[in-house]
Amino acid sequence: MQLIPSNLHIDFIGKRKFALIISAVMILVSLGALATKGLNFGIDFTGGTLVEVKFDKAPAIVDVRESISPKGFGNAVIQEFGSPEEIMIRVQNKDAENSSVISTAILDGLSEKFGADAIEMRRIEFVGPQVGEELTRAGIMAVLVSMLAILIYVTFRFEFRFALGADAALLHDITIVLGLFALTGKEFSLPVIAALLTVIGYSLNDTIVVFDRVRENFAANRKRKNPNEENGVVNDSINQTIARTMMTSVTTLLVVLALFFLGGEVIHDFAFALIAGIFVGTYSSIYVASPVMLALSGRFKSNENEIKEMEARP
């Protein structure tokens, strides 16, 4: 079976201006959402206590709130988690208060109201304010360090402009996935950082496959008597690898969808980040990495104004 014909000739590079507009819009929307709505940081970063409880029958959220208000947690975030019987309660840390106190008080309040047998502790998470700060710093560091490591590796294996193209694609992907989290208000937790780094790995994987073919075709092209324009060579390379790009996206998407639908509530947002990442990662390896790489090159004969115009865009 072959869904994508081998003699495909789509003018990807020719449409790069159009793609740049799409990317620019997506990035602006993302940055806007991040600036106005911001990320819904989970307790991993803000510090706080999370208690997940399973009731024997679905309780009313009002009753749950009523049961913990006397303990001083009336303003807790209370929500269903996966099923109506499962309730997640999230509170901010009060100053200098110890975790044991908060989660114990919440569980006590619940068992006083509903009876100790009616509730079952599913999960308690507490992150102290200091740990939250450390995790935030470590998360940012991780993204920066991996981008730097990739920059070095790709420069070493390819050329500097390829590395910049790859990193531009990564920034593009991360910004958009983050923007999506801000837009949907999904909780941004530690596993989502893991998902983001995986998206980095995945998107890069795609980009490298295209670049690898570009490198191969550049080498072949230079040996010719009348070398083609770099734009054309890059476009051919994308066309040659598009079947693989699509196939891998499909297989990865299949398993990530399985994770999204079957993996349970805890892993849900993680899978969501991966799904978003696969889409933008696939897109960026075609429409962001290569055009940026081309724009950064002084070696190919292209309209000077066009380069300036492209560089001026966000």
Partner: protein, 526 residues
């Protein structure tokens, strides 16, 4: 087609056998003759097994200031011994200030301070003033000791819970990671772990005026401490006591602590047995102060202050206080395990109930199975025979990940399962690259065998570059990650490495085997 080297078949066969053997303990008990390196099943993380996960922060600054405070006692003793009068003895954090009264004593003071305080850097800013700063090396030593000691104490307490395989390890400079698998009562565990369990015996100052002391005039060398809050006639109050500051005996001198029944009130109590040094001290104390009271101070509050009726030589004491049986048992546990050298605070907790753990395993396995089936079908349909070869490699890959995780003693976590699921999707990528390349070669008009060679050769560098870059992200994740995230990084890395082997070498071997016998191949099933 290039001939496929013999040794590679051998390598594949070896890896296959080792993987099968390494994976076996996950399904059944390995026979006794099984190699020990291959006999361990993969361990499940707390998020799958259920249990308590705590990160504790040891207040090491307190340990240092406490140790310096204790040296005030030493300073008092040595100065008195040499009859050097002082006007100030004070500690602040890791420094100690001594001000002497007579300038003529300065030389003698300087000498004995230097003799007795070798762990301090001593400066002499004024003739009568000595400032002692704890040497950095000793400061560090005290901090390290406080954490190590806390680990021992906490281990003792947790062992008393009777759970299996608790993990208590140092994390960084001053933190302790505590994991108690399969234990659900987080409240109880935290109470037990967090108690300082500091036990002190001080004499009551029978001559001092408690009323005056309460109004602010505390006699020198004395201290006011309170009994726990009580409610009587609808009013709550705390009984104050005027005590001598000096601690006569402490929890360090306890050899054993057991739950007992107090015969007078028929209540639960804890009977302490002192060690030989403690027993001697207790003997001396009770002999010298018959008729006076001594206070038993537990974690900063006065538990009781019985009158010493006669000299007690046996070396045991009893703590009462209308305990419930559980309270008495917990108190005995913490006193037996010893006091924490510094207060500890829970800075992170991730505890999972057993049912959530089981749900996560079930859901994780479901996504692995469904995800694999989808990929297997897709590859089979899309690449036909070659797809089936890739599927065999994928199964091999799964086996290899399982075996590798078991052999390296890895821990499977929920994000780890996600890592495996993701690996399934990405593992076939290498094969997709190769197969697409073979198709291209065929389209260029090459013969089937030449196309296979071309496909593998040309895809090779791409596969390496693509996987190494993903590996970079996984390694960074491992460096930065805590607990569960680390599990994800480990399975992802193992998965990437395993997939490079199975997707390149194993598929090649299968294809080489299946084409070797045939003289001519007209068409590839790809």
């Amino acid at each position: 087609m290039h001939s496929f080297p013999r040794w590679k078949y051998g390598l594949i066969l070896t890896v296959l056998v080792v993987s099968l053997m390494g994976a076996l303990p996950n399904f059944t008990t390995a026979p006794s003759w099984w190699p020990s390196a291959l006999s361990n099943p993969m361990s499940l993380g707390l998020d799958l097994k259920g249990g308590i996960h705590l990160v504790l922060d040891v207040d090491v600054d307190k340990a240092v200031s406490h140790s310096v405070e204790e040296d005030i006692d030493t300073a008092r003793q040595v100065l008195r011994k040499d009859r050097i009068r002082y006007s100030k003895l004070a500690s602040d954090g890791n420094s100690l200030t001594i001000v002497i009264k007579e300038a003529t004593d300065a030389d003698a003071a300087a000498k004995i301070i230097a003799e007795n305080f070798s762990t301090y850097d001593i400066s002499n800013p004024a003739a009568d003033t000595f400032v002692l700063n704890l040497k950095p090396a000793n400061d560090k030593e005290i901090r390290k000791f406080a954490v190590d000691q806390s680990i021992e104490v906490i281990r003792g307490r947790i062992d008393a819970l009777g759970t299996t395989e608790p993990v208590i390890v140092k994390q960084g400079e001053r933190r302790i990671l505590v994991q108690i698998p399969g234990y659900e009562d987080t409240t109880h565990a935290k109470q037990l772990i967090g108690r300082t369990a500091q036990l002190e015996f001080k004499l009551v100052d029978e001559k001092g005026d408690l009323e005056k002391a309460l109004s602010g005039r505390i006699p020198p060398g004395d201290i006011i401490m309170y009994a726990p809050e009580q409610t009587r006639n609808g009013k709550s109050f705390r009984q104050p006591y005027l005590l001598k500051k000096h601690t006569e005996l402490s929890g360090n001198e306890i050899a054993d602590a057991r739950v007992s029944i107090d015969s007078r009130f028929n209540e639960y109590a804890v009977t302490l047995k002192f060690n030989s040094k403690g027993a001697r001290k207790f003997d001396k104390l009770t002999a010298a102060h018959v008729g006076e009271r001594f206070a038993i101070i537990l974690e900063g509050t006065v538990n009781s202050a019985p009158v010493i009726r006669e000299r007690i030589a046996g070396g045991s004491a009893q703590i009462t206080g209308s305990f419930s049986p559980e309270e008495a048992r917990d108190l005995a546990i913490v006193l037996r395990a010893g006091a924490l050298p510094a207060p500890v605070k829970v800075v992170e907790e991730r505890s999972i109930g057993p049912s959530l753990g089981q749900d996560s395993i079930d859901q994780g396995l479901n996504s692995i199975i469904i995800g694999s089936i989808l990929v297997l079908i897709f590859m089979g349909v899309y690449y036909r025979m070659f797809g089936m070869v890739a599927n065999v490699a994928l199964a091999f890959n799964m086996l290899l990940i399982l075996a590798a995780m078991s052999i390296i003693g890895g821990t499977m976590t929920l994000p780890g399962i996600a890592g495996i699921v993701l690996t399934i999707g990405m593992a076939v990528d290498a094969n997709v690259l190769i197969f697409e390349r073979i198709r291209e070669e065929l389209a260029l008009g090459k013969t089937p065998l030449a196309a296979i060679d071309g496909g593998y050769d040309k895809a090779f560098s791409t596969i390496i570059d693509a996987n190494i870059t993903t590996l970079i992200a996984a390694i960074v994740l491992f460096q930065f990650g805590s607990g569960p995230v680390k599990g994800f990084a480990v399975t992802l890395s193992v998965g990437i490495l395993a997939s490079m082997f199975t997707a390149i070498t194993v598929t090649r071997a299968i294809i080489a085997l299946s084409t070797a016998k045939r003289a001519r191949i007209e068409k590839l099933s790809i």
